[in-house]
Structure formats: C-alpha cells, structure tokens
Amino acid sequence: MAKLKLALYWASSCGGCEIAQLQIGDKILKLAEVADIVFWPVAIDAKYKDVEAMPEKSIDVCLFNGAIRTSEQEHMAKMLREKSKVLIAYGACAYGGGIPGLGNMFNRELIFERAYLETPSTDNKEKVLPQTKCKVPEGELTLPEFYDTVKTLGQTVDIDYVIPGCPPEARTTWLALEALIEGKLPPKGTVITHNAKAVCDDCPKKRDVKKVKKFYRTFEIMPDPEICLLEQGLLCAGIATRGGCEAPCPQANMPCTGCYGPVDGVIDQGAHFLSAVASVIDSNDPDEIQRIIDGIYDPVGTFYRYSLPDSLLRRAKIK
C-alpha cells in the first residue's frame, strides 16, 4: 500500500496545536510507518511553491490549525483545500475562531491602534502602521492584508472533519489519526471526540442542586475539590461544551473554558452557556439578580471564549 500523504499547516494560532500533535508520543512512529509528511512549516523545509506544484487532491489528509485573519491564511486555506482529499479543522481556532477570534470584538483600525501606537512599550513616533505595500530603495515590499473580521476555517472553505480542543488532547488527535490510518472515517462533518455528550459526563465531581448567590473568578475562592464547580459559583463551561477530553481542567479545580466547542445540536455555544449560567442564579428579586450578574465581568469573553467567529452574530458591532 502506498503511504498516506499528510500535510499540516498553521494559520492564526499560537503554535500549541503543533505541540499537541507531538503529544501522541511514540504513536508518532506508527504514523511515520504509514504516512509521509509532505508539508509542515513548523518542522520540515517545504515551501509554498512546493505545495503549489502538487496536483489537485494529491494530499490525502491535511490537518489545518488556526483561524483565518489575513489574506495569506485565506490563500493557503483555499490552496490546501484544492490539494487535499480530506481537510480537517484541527483545534479550537480553526473550528470556532478560538482566542484570535475574540479579535472580532474590535476591527483592524482598533487593533492596529492598540498594538502599534498605544501599548506602553511601543516607541513609534512616526506612527507607522503595517501596509500591504511599501516602496524601499531595493524595490517594493509586500505584507498580507490584515482583515477586520476573523473567520473560521469552515467559513472560508469546505471542511471534512473537526478535531476540537485548545489544544486537542492527544487521545482525540489519535482517535482521528487511527480512523484515517484504518480508513474507517466517520460521516463528513463529524466532530471527532470520544464523547459527544457534555464535559460534565466526563467529570467525576459531585453534582447536586445548582443554586448560586454569587459568581467568583478563579482567584477569588478555593473550591471544594469534590463538588461541581458551577455549583460553587465558578463559571464552568462544561455544561455547554462537548466532552471527550476527560475533563482535565475541572479535575484540576479550574473551570472548563469551553475549548471543545458546542455539543451536537447547539448552534451557538455562548448563548447556550449563558442560558445555563443564568438558570442557576438563586433569586427571584430583579435587583438581587442584577447584583449577581454584575459579578460576571466579561460575558462575551467568558461565554464565547473559543467560538465568537462561529457564533450567530460573529462579531461585535463597532460604532
């Protein structure tokens, strides 16, 4: 049997997905037996022009991590879609927009202003901002265009599967790779995890009645390690997040932040999480309810931590 041709690419992401891919450990040797890596900017020396020269659908599988923020990333997403038989959105950024997706609370102008003019460590007296083209004595220099709005991979090109997580757990990565190697692929569009139910299904903490009088941020309390974190007033997204990760965060007493994305059937993870959080507020008095809600400092960043570009509204309205 001919070896599988595998490509890996990164777009708007932090590099954590590459580490996660290596975390499959010695299974990587098994992968090397059956697959050749033809493109992987972080590890091997193949250039864009090498990919361009490949015939259509000549790559068997492409694991694409990162959201789409610039024209270069959009170009590469389209090119890798054309060259790959199976394109997989790998990780929370490619799937839902991820942390870079929170940039949709702003636009290019506001982001440039902050990053290149306002930050205390910036020394930019001429107020130079990135340009797509710039003339220098040696000729013209170009940069990719920085878009106003971050998109997911699935909003940019057609995708076949999703491997969720920030970053994906090694077991989730291997579950997908094993299915690929054995040729036992699930139906198109599947989000590949061990558990399609919520993270709570993986979580061993005791659950009783959810009645909350005050929400806490993680540094404000020492939670009881035996009891459900949401019941203790921590904004744990487990209730609105797909499982399969084995709930490592709640088990370390840190609330789930929702990186595996929504459970099946939910179209907007943030609104779903918001609904669950509001339902546990223990009060029938509008003023007290408002006081309890005032203790939730950043609703968008909490409820849409990894999924703002994939939400129904996609981005904030900038006046």
Partner: protein
Amino acid sequence: MNFEPKIVGFCCNWCSYRGADLAGTARMKCSPNVRIIRVMCSGRVEPTFVVKAFELGADGVLVLGCHAGDCHYSEGNYKTMRRMPLLKKMLAQMGIEEERVRLDWVSASEGDRFVSIVDDMTAKVRALGPFKNNSKEAKHG
C-alpha cells in the same frame, strides 16, 4: 423613506398573548411593528432565539411573560427574569443598544399595557435606526 422597525415579540401563551389578544378584540390602536411569536412560557425563550432574531434581521426583540408570581408553570418567568439581564449585558458588549432588547410583563387583562409597551419600544427602536446585521457583513476585507 421612513424607517419602520421590525420587532420580534415572544409572548407567553397564558398571559401576554392573551393580553395582546385583548388589545386586538378591544380594537385598541397599536403599532404594527411587533411580529408576535407565541410560546408556551417566557421561560421557553432561549437566549439563542433572541440572538437568532438579530442574525435574521430583526431590529429589536421584545419578550413578554406573566407577572412575577403569576406564571402558569409556577416559575418559568423567574428563569426569564434571570436570563434576560445577563443576555442584555452580553449584547451590550457586542455593541447592540440596550433599547433593542426588552423584557416586560403583561397579564391577560392588560391589553392597554401591551399597547403602551409595544408603542414605546417601537418609538425607541425607530429612533435608533436599523440594526445592521454583522454576520452578513462579515466578509473578508
């Protein structure tokens, strides 16, 4: 051309929808801008419904339920009372003006109250102008 806002109104079956019905049978004059969707209880109105209405082009969303203590299902409207303020806080962060989302209580006998809430909200949303739907705009570039 004058802007006429489109407002989606979720009315609970037992109080608010009956209140709207009373306003109609009593021939009370009322702004025609609210498109009513009857739900069994205001507690049925998931935050997703409200967000979806905006995504599909609504300029405002009105949620009406029974007065506190009057819920046909005992405490459905208390759930709404907890959800909507949190949703409003989040939508404000997303740049959606506060007046575009309103939660209020109308009983089956308060046809006049239904009319005054609808008229008041219509006027406020009309003054704000159309809600530009971001998701349709979110092209690259």
